[in-house]
Chain length 132, copies 2
């Protein structure tokens, strides 16, 4: 059976889905949640709700909302101790969360690797004396 | 005048907004638009609508929608040549778009740098024989 002729791509770049980045999990690829996950994983320990709020510059409502998304996915745990004015809330990343976030970071590295050539050209264009 | 006593942070991590990543422009920090921008900047030349669709694995509607957002921000140009069945659409990144995307990529590098220590620990935990 003759091999089916491939559709000619002429000058087109090859690689279907070459830049689709399917590994960029939408749960992590949101600015506030990326801040939360980086804070929690970088600290190597649990953080209080207040500290997390301060590190990520998020409002109470926004932090609660994004923590709930991460908690539902099994990526973080949120534990409340005590009650009333003396209560405190502590957040930490789960093992599943660490593993999934590691995978996300690998895909992010791929984005930067793909863009690196373009960055060099752009940087050269931004140097004083360059005329477009 | 005596210096006002700083609020004690005890075990709390310092650095308000340390992980807020304000440079992560929401226009670029969307999976499909990140794919489009990386495709266009990595190719160093204009791409046809069809090639872009193929590289990013996007539907006609999604690609159009995200290109419109980038076009409105002045980051890409979309030019249609001809009309009817013989028409073709070409997309390219503007100088403004390259500069802004470069800035976004710098912030993305910061995220990876912040997470690198955590990644090493996680990788160690994932090695066979590790017991949590």
């Amino acid at each position: 059976m003759p091999r089916r002729k491939e559709k000619s791509a002429s000058t087109a770049p090859t690689g279907e889905g070459r830049f689709s980045y399917s590994g960029l999990d939408r749960i992590f690829h949101e600015k506030a949640r990326l801040s939360i996950m980086t804070s929690l994983t970088a600290q190597q320990e649990q953080l209080s709700f207040g500290d997390l709020k301060m590190l990520c510059t998020l409002s109470d409502g926004n932090l609660s909302r994004h923590l709930a998304v991460l908690q539902e996915a099994g990526f973080v745990t949120v534990e409340k101790e005590g009650s009333g004015r003396g209560s405190s809330t502590h957040c930490s990343v789960t093992h599943t969360g660490r593993v999934a976030f590691l995978s996300y970071l690998c895909e992010l590295e791929q984005v930067l690797a793909d863009a690196s050539a373009a960055r060099e050209t752009t940087s050269a264009q931004l140097r004083p004396g360059f005329s477009a």
